[in-house]
Symmetry: C2
Subunit: 195 residues, 2 copies
DNA sequence: CGTGGCATGTAAACGGTTACATGATTTA
DNA sequence: TAAATCATGTAACCGTTTACATGCCACG
């Protein structure tokens, strides 16, 4: 009776692509909503069974050579998805370990926090690069797909947030690495870093 | 033997304020790291017991009138915190329900997604306002506290991300509400919304 | 005195991951 | 035929939240 969000991930993906196996679902999650969602097999397979038992999806083609049991969404499943979409979204309690470590940064040498920030910047540069690639690719071909405008929105939010985080990261690094800028006593031992 | 992150939240907070009870920890989490972390009593109280048993914290003053059992960090606890701070941070699998619903937005009337975005904007405006207040308050008094520079960094990241999300939200709303702008066929029935 | 809120605590449930088991199929 | 990897599945565990229980103190 209790629908977890995994249910709607699967139902949603089945509206995008009509036949998916558990394996397919996993791949689809990773490749299309991977940067803001994740699912593990331990969730996916039992959920498929449960959704089928409830009639929200149904076993469809048993893919010829590939021994993959595929499923398709039913009208009832689509209905259920629509209802969920209309409910207000619920953001779970935040838990950002990077910010947690930074918050307690004064307990460690400045180099520790600096390393974390560099680490974050690295990840963000990577993320930005792939997001921009995807965006460029999507913009090249005309929007035949009714989902595409929404996908672009999720993408542009990701890009905007990553850019903001990167900007912050650079200035944060500068602040941390310049050792306590006492205005009239320029630090004697740390040469200004010029990459 | 396994240290959960709740351990380090408590140890960290005890380096900031020397004596805290379970109740205090909860309040401190909410008021100081609330926008990127959360803890429930069900975690806090058992963790306090466990940390005390391991000697990482110790019962200190039993607060006079208030029947609150307070704890203080021990040298071993501080050591443990330092070690953890030096480890790379681990960001748990992302799970953003807002983006999930937006991704499947094409399955529902555009008004549904628009409402979600407005909802998000509302939350972000709220968040930005309080963050800016805190920032202004912090900047007013000179940095007596060695933790403050790090706290400011977490704050400025929050502000930057929220601003970016708000900017995105406005343009996203505009895009969604303008019904499929066919260039040479200006939409006949939707009057341009002027707030 | 009684009631409402403060403070501590815990049992049970929950959503989710990890680790492992098992065939079946492709590739070398 | 051996090794790799595809695909499905599940049991156990884990961190966490929820809901509830309990006693204490302040205040009307």
């Amino acid at each position: 009776m209790n629908h977890s969000r995994t249910d709607y991930v699967i139902l949603g993906l089945l509206t995008v692509q009509p036949n998916l196996s558990g394996y397919d679902v996993r791949k689809a999650v990773e490749s299309s909503i991977g940067y803001f969602w994740s699912e593990s097999y331990g969730q996916i397979y039992p959920t498929l069974k449960r959704l089928a038992a409830k009639g929200l999806i149904q076993p469809s083609a048993f893919a010829p050579k590939s021994r993959r049991q595929q499923y398709a969404i039913t009208p009832a499943g689509r209905e259920s998805l629509h209802q969920w979409l209309a409910l207000p979204f619920y953001n779970e309690p935040p838990r950002n370990e990077f910010l947690l470590k930074l918050f307690f940064g004064a307990e460690a040498p400045a180099a520790v926090s600096a390393a974390h920030i560099r680490d974050l910047n690295q990840k963000n540069r990577q993320m930005l690069a792939t997001a921009l690639e995807i965006e460029a690719m999507a913009r090249r071909q005309p929007p035949q797909n009714p989902h595409q405008p929404y996908w672009m929105l999720t993408l542009t939010l990701g890009i905007a947030l990553t850019r903001a985080a990167l900007d912050w990261g650079e200035s944060a690094l500068a602040q941390i690495e310049s050792p306590a800028p006492t205005p009239d006593l320029p630090s004697p031992h740390d040469p200004p870093s010029r990459p």
